[in-house]
């Protein structure tokens, strides 16, 4: 536990989870540590439940009785923009929408997109000057992922950064207590991404037949397998969020490699270690801090009976991934953890797990391999620009020197 943090002796709910505390938002680990030890299933004053143990998250976060939205709906929340997407739909609807694009994101299919990401990264490295400096979040994280998705969709490449900022605005309204201003900004973020999705769909409709993912999904609409709204929301997510988490993971990876230079040496010299190193990067980078789910029937979790009345349960992935029962010395970068600790719940669990997981893995591996081809040392220059909430962690700037 950090020596700089003072935690009170008799904790209140606010002590366990001080949602408004900037230090909690910046680095919640000491609070998560306390939660895991003292209140692995915490009942909040409003009846919401917070679950933090790895075993409980793995078992219950995918429970079939849980919904991604409250049973009463989300009214005018900005996230109503995704009600017809894989994010917030359930059952047969969710399955149908996800299957309209899933075959393009399999481990085998993403090998092509990984090569596109590698080409994008190589081009960025070619532009590095004699000072060795590069804006790495953008050039090595965001743009390779955006270019890879452009290839898969069959659309022109674009600067990915506006989508990062837009997605970060939407994520701020997913926090525990979003402010009215955060809600307004989230609407703006969705507005921007929906406008772009409509533009791309319209352009592809005027130029059909390339057989790539967007063309195929428009065919699905034409054949009645997908609605127009489902198409628009899917493209908003696939394109709008293509590089949001991959960009953050790359930034987090470079910080880890700068702080642990021996790991980069091992990565460079021993390709057999790369998958394990990448898994540890995912464990630590944590773009999605938590998952919120809502009950439809009573659930028994860790001795606590959760009523089935739409009670909100927050599963804190960030705590589960630092659960000492599974990850000894959780704050350390250790790529030699036992394989039983390698299940990457950073991508979620169950049918709502990240549909882009294979693509994110392929992109990260492809770009890190390109960096390792040419360089042996990463140095962080200046201060990274992180944008965090109690629900998400992301980056909007990271300059590094590669040598």
């Amino acid at each position: 536990m950090s020596q700089n943090v003072t935690l009170t002796e008799r904790p209140s709910e606010a002590d366990y989870l001080p949602w408004e505390d900037p230090e909690f938002v910046r680095a919640p680990w000491p609070w998560f540590d306390r939660l895991l030890t003292e209140k692995p299933v915490l009942v909040l004053d409003d009846g919401s439940i917070v679950v933090s143990k790895y075993a409980d998250v793995v078992k219950f976060a995918k429970h079939p009785s849980l919904l991604s939205v409250p049973p009463d709906g989300i009214s005018d929340s900005p996230w109503a923009a995704n009600l017809n997407s894989v994010l917030l739909s359930e059952g047969e609807t969710h399955r149908r929408i996800r299957r309209s694009f899933a075959s393009w994101l399999t481990p085998k299919a993403v090998r092509k997109w990984g090569r596109t990401a590698a080409d994008s990264a190589r081009a960025a490295l070619d532009r590095i000057g004699v000072d060795g400096l590069i804006e790495a979040h953008s050039a090595l994280g965001v743009q390779p992922a955006q270019d890879a998705m452009a290839h898969a969709l069959g659309i022109p490449t674009e600067d990915g950064f506006p989508y990062i900022h837009a997605t970060n605005l939407t994520m701020m309204s997913m926090g525990w207590n979003p402010t009215p201003d955060e809600v307004t900004r989230a609407h703006e973020g969705f507005g921007y991404m929906m406008f772009q999705a409509e533009r791309l769909i319209e352009a592809k409709r005027r130029n059909r037949g390339d057989g790539m993912l967007l063309d195929e999904m428009i065919t699905a609409v034409d054949e009645g397998r997908l609605s127009e709204r489902e198409l628009k929301e899917s493209i908003q997510i696939l394109w709008g969020s293509a590089a949001h988490n991959p960009g953050h993971v790359m930034a987090s990876a470079l910080v880890d490699l700068a702080d642990n230079p021996h790991v980069f040496t091992v990565y460079k010299q021993d390709p057999d270690t790369r998958e394990a190193i990448i898994n540890e990067i995912f464990r630590r980078s944590l773009p999605e801090v938590a998952l919120d789910r809502f009950t439809t029937e009573p659930l028994e979790i860790g001795g606590v009976t959760v009523p089935g009345d739409g009670t909100r349960i927050r599963f804190i992935l960030g705590a589960a991934l630092r659960d000492r029962d599974v990850f000894p010395n959780p704050d350390e970068f250790d790529y030699q953890r036992p394989k039983e600790a390698s299940m990457a719940i950073a991508f979620g669990v169950g049918t709502h797990n990240c549909a882009g997981q294979a693509m994110a893995r392929a992109e990260l591996r492809a770009v890190l391999d390109v960096i390792a081809e040419r360089y042996g040392t990463v140095e962080i220059v200046g201060e990274p620009v992180w944008t965090n909430s109690d629900r998400h962690r992301n980056c909007e700037g990271l300059t590094v020197r590669l040598s």
Binding site: R99, A102, P107, E275, K339, M343, T351
Partner: protein, 148 residues
């Protein structure tokens, strides 16, 4: 010798990787094999296929994934005589579910119910174990190749 057909059904593509690993292991052992997606396989060819391997993950609460479901439905609709068919089976699952590897068990029972004879034990990969798909597939394939 006819190549052994390694049929896979999948939701997220992991069963496809397993199928390729099994094909490669058999090939290295001198047994001709080819990976075929279930959605690309004509059920009419099943009775005369000789020896096959079926591979499937389990989706959600014990369900058959996207490309296994139509394959199984076609078998149950046509009910072919499979008394000349031999098969081995491998499943991908997650033991935190009570319905762990249910899909491969359903498929195995359906094939056996139509007269097909299973070779060896059903292989099972468990996501919780942390074992790579390749390690699980190759270990099982090596254990079964001599019985094919």
């Amino acid at each position: 010798m006819t190549a052994i057909k390694i049929l896979f059904g999948t939701e997220s593509g992991n069963a496809e990787l397993v199928a390729d690993d099994i094909t490669d292991t058999f090939t290295d052992a001198g047994v001709k094999a080819e990976t075929i997606a279930m959605e690309d396989f004509d059920i009419a060819d099943l009775p005369g296929a000789g020896t096959i391997v079926v591979i499937t993950s389990t989706y959600g609460e014990g369900e058959l994934p996207a490309t296994t479901e139509p394959f199984q439905r076609a078998i149950l609709d046509t009910r072919p005589d499979l008394s000349d068919l031999r098969f081995a089976a491998f499943g991908l699952g997650d033991s935190t579910y009570e319905t762990y590897n249910n899909a491969i068990d359903v498929l195995t029972a359906d094939l056996a119910g139509l007269g097909a004879r299973q070779i060896g034990e059903t292989g099972r990969h468990d996501a919780v174990s942390g074992e790579s798909f390749t390690d699980g597939a190759v270990t099982w394939a090596k254990s079964i190749v001599d019985a094919l």
